[in-house]
């Protein structure tokens, strides 16, 4: 297991490098090399998840180790699907999505590394976790987190981009290849699209979590820190989704609006990560039902 995990880690590390190379040297072949390396990592990761599932006899997302590996898997999955969609369905050829790929791989590597550091022994599920709602709940959350992490990467890239080209990004993107091929994504739009992919899952995760809590503890909402923070993440993305409706009615400069939205995403994803793994640092965590690890 540890060997497989390390191997996966190295393949993902390689993927970071390849995606960066792809950004610099934008040959069509390079895109497939990058895609291939990440796919290899993803396949290894899938094997990890499946063997763990078989060994542990429960869906492998109950403790820190399992959820890190599973989160890495979801990030890779969502990104790969997204890239396939851009290539084959949306057909944005010279897409710059590769840089997002590199950033996603960094996050994946972090997760796998965290898994390597954590206790990988198989633990039995406490009675409350033996519910099918849990599986739905967790899968929804991780898919959503994966999509939201992409919006985070996109927001970073957008802000850096704006910093460098200070508003003249249109020209920078179109340049000489623009005539034949379709335009690249603008990263603020990409961010919006990924949030709109992730947000429904976030909502369904919140709801299934609540239904599960009702079945196990008899209350669907108890203002437990973990519950509260998942509500906070949801609220922040909800605000983000409603802002494009509000901004035109304010006197915020049009060119500044995407920057504001990106900054919100920059705040939002760390909140998600905190909900996922920072709960034990809260002063109120000792009163919690849901914070198992550490």
């Amino acid at each position: 297991m540890e060997f497989m995990l390390k191997l996966t880690l190295y393949v993902y590390c390689a993927a970071i490098v390849v995606y960066i190379v792809r950004e610099v040297w934008r040959a069509n072949a390079m895109r497939w090399v990058a895609f291939g390396v990440l796919s290899c990592g993803f396949i290894l990761n899938t094997i990890l998840v499946l063997t763990r599932w078989a060994e542990a006899n429960h869906a492998p997302m109950s403790d820190k180790f399992e959820s890190f590996v599973f989160f890495a898997w979801s990030i890779a999955l969502v990104y790969l699907i997204f890239e396939l969609v851009t290539i084959f369905i949306v057909k944005v050829h010279e897409s710059r999505i590769g840089i997002i790929g590199a950033l996603q791989c960094v996050l994946i590597v972090w997760m796998i590394y965290a898994a390597l550091q954590s206790d990988s022994t198989i633990k039995e599920l406490p009675p409350a976790l033996q519910s099918n709602w849990l599986v739905t709940h967790v899968i929804c959350y991780f898919l959503s987190y994966a999509a939201l992490s992409m919006s985070f990467s996109a927001a970073i890239v957008y802000l850096i981009h704006r910093g460098i080209f200070s508003g003249k990004q249109k020209e920078a993107v179109v340049d000489e290849t623009g005539s034949q091929k379709k335009k690249d994504y603008s990263f603020d739009k990409l961010a919006y699209i990924t949030v709109s992919i992730g947000f429904p899952f976030l909502t369904i995760g919140l709801i299934t979590g609540s239904i599960w809590a009702k079945g196990a503890w008899g209350t669907y909402w108890g203002w437990d820190p973990k519950e509260t923070w998942s509500l906070i993440s949801w609220l922040v993305y909800l605000a983000y989704m409603h802002l494009p409706l509000m901004l035109p009615k304010t006197n915020i400069k049009k060119s500044f609006r995407p920057i504001l939205l990106s900054i919100i995403l920059l705040i939002a994803f760390p909140i998600v990560l905190f909900t996922f793994m920072g709960m034990h640092t809260l002063p109120t965590s000792s009163d919690s039902n849901h914070i198992y690890a550490e």
């Binding site: 039995e124 406490p126 033996q130 739009k189 429904p200 008899g218 209350t219 609220l235 509000m246 109120t284």
Partner: protein, 625 residues
């Protein structure tokens, strides 16, 4: 941007300023952000604690401030409720205002209405619902519950019996932990057979070579060398070819065997020289050790030893005591049968002490020297007795002495009533009659250097003697672990529940231990009785509750020590149906907005060519028609 609002639409509503604000998305964003901030505060500041705790933690000033603006119980504060109401109003207003019977609007309408439904459902529960708990002892019943908020007793109107409470546990699991001392590094490693586990940062490694789920140790006698370092014989006694007893005798260790039924003792002695052999083979009595009694008088340093033989009498100098041995038993509980038929089990001696205050008799046990029979009155408390019986003590009349020496002489001597009857040479595997008894002796094996080979095998089961209740057999797993390090490889069997096993350099250890028996499930068998009639019986467990007359009983806790009561959460949620309807609508609505609507829009806009995946206009005006 364009087409923000149609002026026509605007006029048709009688839009006062307040209405405008209540409909606005600006208010929505403000409420959402305010709620997020409130939630953050609600997890950063301790909630629902006693006033003293706040003073302790935040100081008097801050504590006062917190309680003044209800930061100590945010989620039940008036201002948070106000926020929720405002949210509902905002949602309702904007939904009404933007209501359009268009397909693309479905998602917007459904999500917004569903959130209102969820909140309404929660309010219904809050006003008419029940949230409480009660503990029920096994075999007892309750007809009330306690409210969660202030522990008021509220009658249920029926009785709930807990017929049984069960905690199911997973079978024990075992884990392997490695420890490197100089790095103070401890790590749980996987228990896979054949996998070499390197300890990163060191040159130690461990490999589990074999794993037996339920193992036991077999000690198999083997011969280590041809030199007579630890001579041993395997002896068989038989009557008419039926073996009645057999076993190993070790010259340097356990070298005798008592057959109490036949009043026989067998000794195995090793002679250093031929002369010694001669002497041993022909001597009637080997100066055999005898039981002794040590007499000490407290408060003095008088100590006296006497041989334990019936009738022996000593007077203790310096005192007025005379002590006489009255009786001796090798096994106190069988003291009435002849001594020669008793086995060495619980030896005891009865003495009579005569002194200035008359006679005092008592039993003294060699295993419990200070035992004083409470029923008897001891007069001479200062007389302390300690009876010592040599392990090989025997009173047998018949004796067999097997003697061997280095040069290969080997004889059997038969002695009866202290007289040598015969001495013969013996060879392996041959039966010899023991003089006039019906018994035959055969020396089946001779190991000049007897040793034990420890083998670990799968337990055949059926062995008792561990600390566990009847019926449950706890397996005793063992692993053959190979430890690698600077001094090479060492493989050894390690049993669970044993102390850490150290590598020879005392810097690397492994521990193989049980990682606890985790709880698999809590179950309570509940029975609802109303007007003397049993209405429902159900075994509830976590994630599977009992429902009766709107009440739902959840398995929520248990008596952590005695496991004698079950903790039930009692709820009544009249708003549940509303909340769940809201949940379902919210899921459907949101999926519609983000996964269905974009495609629908594309279809509806078929006439127009879509140049880009998402135009900037569409981006910003995403929801605006």
């Amino acid at each position: 941007m364009a087409k923000v609002t149609e002026p026509q639409q605007r006029k048709s509503k009688n839009d006062s300023k307040v209405w405008e604000i209540l409909c606005s998305v600006k208010l929505a964003v403000i409420i959402i952000v305010a709620m997020a901030v409130a939630c953050i505060l609600g997890t950063v500041i301790l909630q629902q604690k006693s006033p003293e705790e706040y003073v302790d933690r935040y100081g008097a000033g801050l504590a006062k401030f917190f309680s003044a603006i209800q930061l100590t119980d945010i989620f039940h504060s008036y201002w948070f409720s106000f926020l929720l109401i405002l949210l509902c109003v905002n949602l309702a207003c904007c939904t009404i205002k933007r209501w359009r019977n268009k397909v693309l609007m479905i998602g917007f309408l459904v999500t917004h209405i569903s959130i209102i439904l969820i909140l309404i459902g929660c309010v219904i529960d809050l006003l008419t619902g029940v949230k409480g708990g009660v503990n029920v002892y096994e075999g007892k019943s309750v007809d009330y519950y306690l409210t969660r908020s202030d522990y008021q007793k509220v009658p249920l109107g029926f009785q709930v019996f807990c017929d049984d409470f069960i905690i199911e546990r997973h079978p024990p699991k075992y884990k392997l932990i490695t420890y490197v001392k100089d790095k103070d590094k401890q790590k749980a490693v996987s228990l896979k057979v054949g996998k070499r586990i390197g300890i990163s940062g060191t040159n130690y490694a461990a490999t589990v070579k074999e794993l037996i789920d339920d193992a036991e140790v077999l000690h198999e006698p083997i011969n280590v060398s041809d030199k007579p370092n630890n001579p041993a014989l395997y002896i068989q006694l038989s009557v008419r070819d039926n073996v009645t007893a057999e076993g190993w005798l070790l010259a340097k260790d356990r070298n005798w065997y008592n057959d109490t039924q036949r009043d026989l003792k067998i000794d195995y002695v090793w002679a250093d020289s031929d002369e010694a052999h001669e002497r041993l083979a022909n001597a009637a009595t080997k100066s055999s050790t005898k039981p002794t009694l040590e007499i000490r008088i407290d408060g003095t340093n008088i100590v006296k030893n006497v041989l334990v033989e019936k009738g022996n009498k000593v007077s203790i100098e310096g005192t007025d005591y005379v002590i006489e041995i009255k009786e001796f038993a090798l096994d106190y509980s069988k003291r009435l049968v002849p001594l020669s038929e008793q086995e060495l089990n619980n030896p005891a001696v009865m003495v009579e002490i005569s002194g200035p205050q008359g006679k005092d008799s008592r039993w003294s046990f060699s295993k419990y020297p200070d035992y004083q029979d409470k029923a008897h009155k001891t007069i001479y408390k200062d007389v302390k007795l300690l009876c010592t019986v040599p392990e090989d003590f025997s009173n047998a009349k018949n004796r067999v002495r097997i003697v061997q020496n280095r040069s290969g002489k080997q004889t059997i001597t038969y002695i009866k009533d202290g007289k040598v009857i015969s001495t013969i040479d013996w060879v392996l595997g041959q039966n010899y009659d023991i003089a006039d008894s019906k018994l035959q002796i055969r020396i089946a094996k001779y190991f000049p250097s007897h040793g034990l080979k420890k083998t670990v095998v799968k337990s055949t089961g059926g062995h008792e003697g561990h600390n566990h209740g009847p019926g449950e057999h706890h397996a005793n797993p063992a692993i053959l672990i190979e430890m690698e390090g600077p001094r090479g490889k060492y493989a050894e069997w390690v049993f669970a529940h044993t102390p850490p096993h150290w590598y020879p350099d005392k810097n690397f250890a492994i521990l193989y231990e049980q990682s606890g028996m985790e709880v698999k499930d809590y179950k309570s068998i509940l029975r609802v009785v109303e007007n003397g009639k049993t209405m429902v019986t159900k075994t509830i467990e976590v994630n599977d509750a009992l429902k009766y007359k709107g009440f739902v009983f959840y398995q929520s806790s248990y008596d952590p020590e005695g496991e004698r009561y079950t903790g039930l959460q009692v709820t009544k949620n009249p708003g549940l149906i509303v909340v769940y309807t809201g949940f379902i609508l919210l899921c459907l609505g949101i999926v519609f907005i983000f996964y269905v609507k974009p495609f629908l829009r594309q279809k509806l806009n078929k006439g127009k060519k879509i140049k880009e995946y998402y135009s900037e206009e569409e981006m910003l005006a995403e929801h605006i028609e």
